[in-house]
Amino acid sequence: MYAIIVGGGKIGFYLARTLLDDGHEVLLIEKDADHTHRLEEGLGDVVMHGNGADVRVLERSGIGRADVVVAVTGYDEDNLVVCQMAKRKFGTKRVVARVNNPLNEDTFRMLGIDATVSSTRIIYSLLEEEVGSNTLVCLAALARGRLEIVEVSLSNESPAANKAVKELRLPVDCILMSVIRGDEIIVPRGDTVVKAGDAIVALVRQGGQESLRKAIGAS
């Protein structure tokens, strides 16, 4: 796989390192000249100095044959433009953008960039997971966010505890994909009984999250 990474910050550096260790071909593009030299010391001859949001630089990077383009600079507008150019101009199959401001996620999606990663969002989700068992954690967004794979944990007070799946009052556009009970993974059927402490992974259509949370989570 040939991966082009735009932005040589911590994320770009460690992503390049990881991909190289896995035997992939990598090019890391970094705007700052001094920083480019430091990156070269750690990664070798796979770093290019230039503005990755400049179409000429992308052309010189061999973007035409890249399998993936990842934009992880600290500027959301740059990440968005890099991904739009890769996808729409150069036909790159897989593009991934870092979203620094989680409020910009919608904008990315609307402008055609579905695969976004927001560290703020991920850490926040993990915190939510720690704080309350009645919360829903989004594991993946599909179809431009219209569909989500979510995880929800059953607390002791959950209205769903000790009920069979067919008795649960689930939203219409929702499918339970699996029940995780300790180390055990159960593919649920109508007569599967869910218990407090279970984590349920479900596919849910946008807008159904809240009723799913009410049906399975506490309070």
Partner: protein, 139 residues
């Protein structure tokens, strides 16, 4: 006409003053307070401090009811992203983005965005006023 101008540099500020003098309702969006010095003291329009790609900022600027949005910050990518939000999300009728990079303008024109490239325009003006043009030969 309700116009939002994103970026209060010389171009943004002059455009804001001109449109206001013609009686239009102008809102300026600028992230750097110091840049507001470009506006004439008599400017009566609204000023929103914030980034032009921030949805909340754009809504505060009244993008939902704007007739035109012009993105003229000094950053090309900010301009094309802000203009796309105005066009795709808020369906603003007239949207214009400035890009200094001619290649970027070419690409975003292909994507259907209305753009203006001062580099192209300046090159053309200078080229047209060179005497060599008449004979078609070098000096």
């Amino acid at each position: 006409m309700r116009v939002i101008i994103i970026g209060c540099g010389r171009v943004g500020a002059d455009l804001a003053a001109t449109l206001e003098s013609e009686g239009h309702e102008v809102t300026v969006v600028e992230k750097d307070r110091l840049a507001l010095v470009h506006l004439p003291e008599a400017f009566q329009g609204r000023i929103i401090l914030g980034t032009g790609i921030d949805d909340a900022v754009l809504r505060r600027a009244g993008i939902e009811t704007a007739d035109a949005v012009v993105a003229v910050t000094n950053l090309d990518n900010t301009n094309v992203v802000a203009a796309q939000i105005a066009k795709e999300k808020y369906k603003v009728k007239t949207v214009l983005a400035r890009t200094f990079d001619p290649r970027l303008q070419e690409i975003y024109r292909e994507f259907g965005l209305e753009t203006i490239c001062p580099t192209d325009i300046t090159v053309k003006l200078i080229h047209d006023s060179l005497p060599a043009k008449a004979s078609g030969k070098g000096a």
